[in-house]
Every structure is written in C-alpha cells, then in structure tokens.
C-alpha cells in the first residue's frame, strides 16, 4: 500500500509533465490555431439582366409606341457555368476569409421586335460572355464553439462533420471574351422566315472591368481529411458592363441587327460544389490535418 502511494505521489507528476508537453506542442503553437485551404469548385449560374438605361437603334415615330421597341430580356437560356480555384484562410473556429479565381460564363438573351399586324420583323439576340472573376469574401460558419485545445487525453477536438455557413463578398471581374449571335425573322401573312443570322465578337462594346457584391450560404462536409462544400450565392453587379463610349463601335451590329447595348448590370444565382484541401497538418506522415 505504501509502495502504491509512493508510486502515485512520485509518478503522477511525470505523467503530468508528459501530458503538458503534448498540450503545449499541439495547442499553444499559434501555427496550429489557424488553417489554410485550397480547392477547386464548379457549378452553374442563372443570370438576369438589370437594364440601367435603355438604348436602341430602333425608335418610335410616336411617343405612345416607345415601349414597343425596348429589348425584352428573356428568362430562359440564361444558364452558364462557373468553375475555378478557391483559397481560404480560417483564422477562427467560426470565421474564414477567402478568394476564388473563377471562369464565369454569363449567358443572356433578348428579343427586339418591329411589330405590325401582318408584316413584322423580330430579332433574337443571344449572348455568351466569359469573365475571369476574383472575389474576396468573408464566411461565418455556424458551429458550436468548442475548446480548440486538445484535452489531456491527447484526443483531437471534436469538429462537427457538417457545418453550415453564410458568406458575403466583393466580386471583381475581368472580361475575357464576349460573343453575340443574332437571328432575324420576318413574318409576312403568317409565314415566318429566318432571313439573317450572324455572330460577332463584342469585346469592344463592354467594359473590361466590372465589380459587384455577392451573398450566399452553404454547407461544409468533412470527407476524411478533405472537405466538400456546397454553396448558393446571389450576385449583384453594381457597375455598368456596357462601355458607354463604344456603344456604336460595332458597325455590323448596327447596320444589320440595328442593335446597341443597353447600359446594364447582371444579377445571378449560382450553385457550386467544391473540394477543399487543408494545407496545415499535425502529422504529415499520417496526413492528419489541423482542425480548429
């Protein structure tokens, strides 16, 4: 009994010293208290056009007819793709800042008619723009705050496997390519024929840089040592995508499609799935990532 008490009295501090050492190594090192992630992500967007100022080559001869010649932006065939890389820095259990490098396809179309009872002309304008997006965002993760320190049994802190989050950000876009196709149809006595069709690059009609804001939310799922994210965002551009000083620069569009761009920005909903890989590990041998 005495020997047992002796052992407990003298050996416990030894164990305690050993546990303290692990504790310090894993938890008091600031390096271990944040995490970096890189990943890939991709998805689809649904784009809507918000006209700011309307412009048209076709104009009325009577103020009552003015609305007839406004472009009619369509809500179908507006789905594009978005894909790219993502990088994030988690500096707190609940907070993340990040950026993406994405290719964003913006598709939209509009109709413009020269109406009449019997002989009418209609134009169908399809657009396919590609932007290189560089957003920066701030993400709040909804999870219980847990003690980030490893407990004395040296077990990993418990991080929820599924974490919902909300995010807001600023988006900066660089125009990469802008293509437009036009089809003209003439209706005569009920017979409709397509008499003109052509495509044009319209880079020169657009501002090379645009900006906007976005907000959204999603979930982060743990899949082993990596994460799967799903997110839904709403984006609102706040700069005019049309270059107002080059509105009339494309003579072919003016001469054959009677078209100039409205001043406009885009609104879009996007759905994305991504894979995140943490960059900091407790043990590079076993690829045990730091989870905070």
């Amino acid at each position: 009994m005495f020997r047992l008490l002796y052992c407990l009295f003298f050996l416990f501090p030894v164990f305690n010293i050993q546990a303290q050492s692990t504790y310090d190594r894993l938890n008091k090192n600031p390096f271990k208290q944040t995490q970096w992630y890189i990943g890939v992500r991709g998805g689809a967007n649904y784009n809507l056009v918000n006209p700011i100022n309307r412009h048209s080559v076709i104009k009325p001869t009577n103020d009552l007819d003015e609305a007839l010649y406004e472009k009619s932006y369509q809500s179908v065939e507006n789905i594009g793709v978005i894909y790219g890389l993502t990088a994030m820095f988690q500096f707190d259990q609940k907070f993340v800042v990040g950026t993406n490098l994405s290719i964003n396809q913006v598709r939209f179309n509009y109709l413009q008619d020269l109406p009449a009872d019997v002989n009418s002309i209609s134009f169908d304008h399809q657009h396919d723009f590609q932007y290189f997006d560089v957003p920066v965002f701030f993400r709040v993760m909804f999870r219980p705050a847990t003690n980030r320190f490893w407990n004395n049994s040296s077990r990993k802190p418990k991080v929820p496997a599924i974490i919902p989050f909300l995010q807001v950000g600023l988006n900066f876009s660089i125009l990469m390519d802008a293509e437009k196709s036009v089809e003209r149809s003439i209706s005569q006595d009920g017979l409709k024929i397509q008499d003109l069709s052509f495509s044009e690059n319209v880079d020169e009609l657009l501002n090379p840089f645009t900006a906007g804001i976005f907000a959204g939310g999603g979930f982060r799922f743990r899949l082993g040592n990596i994460y799967l994210t799903t997110e839904v965002n709403f984006r609102q551009g706040f700069s005019n995508v049309t270059d107002t000083e080059r509105r009339f620069a494309n003579q072919n569009l003016i001469d054959n499609a009677y078209d100039v761009f409205d001043d406009k920005n885009f609104q879009s909903f996007e759905v994305l799935v991504g894979i995140l890989v943490p960059l900091k590990y407790l043990s590079t041998k076993e690829f045990i990532p730091i989870e905070i």
Binding site: H55, V57, I58, K59, P60, T61, N62, D63, D65, E66, L68, Y69, L114, P115, A116, D117, V118, N119, I121, F132, I174, L175, M176, D177, A178, R184, I186, Q188, D195, L196, D203, E204, L206, P208, D243, T244, E245, R246, R247, F248, A249, N252, I254, D255, N256, Y258, V260
Partner: protein, 373 residues
C-alpha cells in the same frame, strides 16, 4: 484572352448615333425629305407618308425621338428645304384641293406644326431654299406656264415671281415625266444671293437654270430624255460640283466653272463616271472643313443598296477617303448635313426586311471622319 485593349475609336453618345424610326401601323411607310439641326442641337425631320401626308418629327441631339406631328390630310406633298427664321422652322406643302403652295411653320419648343400662309395662284411647289440668310426662293410648277420662281421675303411675303416658258399642258407633261423618271428639283443661290439657280422640267427637258437676283434667266444647263442634274453645291470662287445622270450613267463633276451666263448642255460638264452609283437615286454634295482643310463630300446610293460617302480635297479635287454605310437592308441617301460639332448627319430611307420603309438618321462624328484619311 483578357480583353483590355480596344482598337476602335470611342465616342460620347452625342457624338455618334444611329436611329431608325418605326411605326407599328400596318402598311405605314415614310419618305424622308429633309433634316435641319435645331437650336438645341437636335434635329427636325420632314417626311411624307405613303398616303402623302406631311410628317414632322423632332429628335434629340442623341437621335432619340422627342415629338412628332402628322398634318391634316388637307395638306400633302411636302418639299424641302426646311428653312429657319427667328427660331422657328418653315417648309412648303401643297393643298389637297388645288395644290396651292402653303408655307408651314414649325414651333419646335411648343411642338406646333401649322400652315402659316397660302401662296394663292402658285401651285405645285417643287423646291424651297435660301436666297440669302434672310430671304428665300420658292420653285413651283404652274399649270399654264410651267416653272415659276418666286422670291419670299423674311416676313414670308412674296416679293416677285418669274415665269419662264410657254408651256402647254404643263401639269400633265410633268406628271408624264415623273411616271418614268426620278428627277431632282432644287433651288438655291450663291454669291450671297446675287446668282440664283434652279432645276426643274422645262419644255426641252430637265434644265438647270441660272438667274440673276431678280430671277431673270442668265444661262442654263440643258438635258434631254431622262438625263438631268441631281445636285449642285457652289463656292464663292465661281465653281460648283455637280452630280448628274447622262445616258443612264452617273457622273460627278467636281470643281466645274459655273457658266451662269451661258447656255450649255449637260454633256459639257465632263464629270467623272460613278459606276457604283444607282442612277435613279439621289446624289448629294456638301462642303465641310476638317482641321482647317476644306473637303467636298459626295454621297450617293450604291448599286448594292448602301450609302457611299466620298471625300474629295477641295484644293486638289482628288479623292481622299471613302466611307460606306449600310448593311443587308437597302438604304438611300436623302440628305447630308454638317453638324455644329463638325460631324456629319445623314438622313436616309431604309427598307427593312423588304416590308418597312423607314426614316434613318445617323451621325458620323468628326473624329471618325478624320480617321478615314
């Protein structure tokens, strides 16, 4: 590739625009006739409808629709030019009943278009224009003597009128001529009104007549058959530039001495053949100045339905630059005009999809013209 550089010239919306004016009414078509720049930098367009009614439209300096009026069907067949007097604008129409020439006043600010004065006894107006900045010239076709030239004073009273020919059945002769030809009627003056010219049908055919400041004939350029002069611009050095058709071919005589005291024939103009011009459509010239260098712009409708603007140096008379305007739908030039900011405005007729004949107005900014050279 990321698009950061642009090759084309940038323009503010007021510097360049392109407008086509449509009407959804089935069968409604327009024949543009003239355009004038208004004091606010906008444009006043005169046109006739396919029912020969008088249509006036105001557009903004950016080519946007502002207002329009269609006159009562009691007035038909408007003729240019639009002239300006004390802030208002004027042109000539005919009465439906007996084709009496009527002066119409346009009050732009009030959006009013109304007949102001009947020139009773002066029927079938063909052309209206400036004698000098304060007086005007009216060319009519009287049903008993044919061409009549009148001087209209600043207050729009008629000062004098001159007839020129004994012309039997003058009206029906003109009708017959118009059935198979597309002549241009015009009237104007140079040397501040000391010399007058007018182009109309006279007994021998389309004739451009020179007259003194009292309308007394001093010379002429005669044509026969369907030949005739289409347009003229004059300069104070006694020279003129003519578009004309001869033997169904089109010519441009640039910088020809104005033989206003001689009787000559159109074949003596010795112009340059314009093989790409559609000879039965308008051809017009205009003097402009670019960077202190004078040019003559000659505009006409090409055989492929576009508008060609040919820029000639006014010093060397050599062709300096060419610009084509138009696309798939055929266009016809109606009027070219220099704007206050040294751009060019073109009034044209366009036939869209083969079904809609519409008014087109577009502006070419000075910078774009300079880039052509």
């Amino acid at each position: 590739m990321v698009s950061c550089q642009k090759d084309t010239e940038a323009f503010l919306p007021t510097e360049k625009f392109n407008s086509i004016f449509d009407n959804p009414t089935e069968g409604q078509n327009y024949e543009p006739i003239d355009v004038a720049q208004t004091e606010d930098g906008g444009y006043l367009i005169l046109a006739s409808t396919n029912s020969n009614q008088v249509f006036v439209m105001k557009v903004s300096p950016r080519g946007e629709f502002i207002w329009s009026k269609t006159m009562s069907s009691a007035y038909i067949s408007p003729v240019g030019n639009i002239v300006k007097n004390q802030g208002n604008y004027y042109f000539i129409v005919s009465t439906l009943t007996d084709r009496t020439a009527v002066l119409v006043e346009v009050k732009d600010f009030d959006q009013i278009v109304e007949p102001l004065r009947n020139y009773t006894g002066y029927r079938r107006p063909l052309a209206f224009g400036y004698l000098n900045p304060d007086n005007y010239l009216l060319l009519t076709h009287n049903d008993t003597i044919g061409a009549v030239l009148s001087k209209i004073q600043e207050g729009f009273a008629m000062e004098w009128a001159r007839g020129y020919d004994e012309f039997e059945e003058a009206n029906s002769t003109l009708d017959d001529y118009l059935d198979s030809n597309t002549p241009e009627f015009f009237v104007g003056a140079y040397n501040n009104g000391s010399n007058i010219y007018f182009n109309t049908l006279r007994p021998d055919g389309m004739t451009m007549t020179y007259a003194n400041d009292q309308g007394i004939e001093t010379g002429r350029i005669s044509a026969t058959d369907g030949d005739g002069i289409n347009s003229i611009i004059t300069s104070n050095d006694g020279k003129g530039s003519f578009n004309y058709t001869l033997g169904n071919q089109s010519f441009f005589a640039n910088g020809t001495n104005l033989a206003n005291n001689d009787s000559t024939y159109i074949s003596q103009l010795d112009g340059e053949l314009q093989p790409d011009r559609l000879s039965n459509k308008k051809a017009l010239s205009l003097s402009i100045e670019l960077s202190a260098t004078p040019y003559i712009v000659n505009a006409f409708t090409t055989v492929d339905g576009r508008i060609k603007l040919a820029f000639y140096s006014d010093n060397s008379r050599e062709l300096s630059a060419i610009e084509y305007v138009g696309g798939n739908d055929p266009m016809e030039v109606v009027k070219i005009m220099a704007t206050e900011d040294q751009g060019l405005v073109v009034l044209a007729k366009i036939i869209m999809g083969g079904v809609k004949q519409r008014i087109s107005l577009f502006k070419i900014p000075k910078e774009e013209i300079v880039d052509l050279f």
